[in-house]
Symmetry: C2
Subunit: 110 residues, 2 copies
C-alpha cells in the first residue's frame, strides 16, 4: 500500500495517451526510440520527452546498443501489478508491432 501522492502521481503519468501506449508496447517487447516514433506517429522529441518522464519515475529502463537506445518496462516496479491491470483496458499493442514489422522498420539488434 502506497501514499496517496505516490499513487496519484503514477496515475497522472499513465493518464497520457502517448505514455500509456508506450508502456503497453514495452510490456510486449523492448523498443528503441525510432520504433516508438514510427508506431505512435509522433515527433522524436515528443517521444524522447515522454520516455524521460517514464525513466525519471523508474517505470522504464534503457540500454544503449550501437546507435540505438532500447527501452524496456521495469517489471520490478511496485506499481507494475497495477499497470498490468490497466493494460486490460487497452487495445492490443501487438497490432502496432505487426504494422511496424510490415513496414520493415523493426530494429533487430545482435
Amino acid at each position: 500500500m502506497q501514499h496517496i501522492e505516490e499513487t496519484a502521481n503514477m496515475l497522472k503519468l499513465l493518464g497520457d495517451k502517448t505514455r500509456l501506449m508506450i508502456l503497453a508496447i514495452l510490456s510486449e517487447t523492448d523498443c528503441c526510440v525510432c520504433e516508438l516514433v514510427e508506431m505512435l506517429q509522433m515527433s522524436q522529441p515528443a517521444i524522447s520527452q515522454h520516455l524521460r518522464k517514464l525513466k525519471d519515475n523508474d517505470l522504464v529502463k534503457e540500454t544503449k546498443k550501437a546507435q540505438w537506445v532500447f527501452y524496456s518496462l521495469n517489471k520490478q516496479h511496485e506499481f507494475y501489478p497495477m499497470m498490468k491491470c490497466i493494460f486490460a483496458y487497452l487495445p492490443d499493442p501487438k497490432e502496432h508491432i505487426r504494422q511496424l514489422e510490415k513496414k520493415g522498420m523493426r530494429i533487430r539488434c545482435e
Copy 2:
C-alpha cells in the same frame, strides 16, 4: 477493452490526489459535499468542482436529501473493476471516516 483515449482520460481523472481520495472514500460509504470538505480539508468550491468532473464522467451519482447532496460511487461503471484494483494502492479511507465521526461531523440522513 476500451479505446486508448477513454482509458487515458479515465487515468487522468484518477491522477489527482483529491479526486482519487474522494473515490476511495465513496467506495466505502456515500457522502455529502460538506463531509468531503471536512475529511479532505479542502474548500467547498474545490470539492464541488472535483465532484462535477467525476459526475460528468459518470463515475459518481448524486442524490439530494434535505439540504444535502449525497454522492455515491457508480459501481456499474465500465472502469469500476480497474478502480478497485487501484484502490489497493491507497491508504484505507475508513480512517478518514472514523476521524469525521470522532469530530461529530458525520451526516446521517433518513
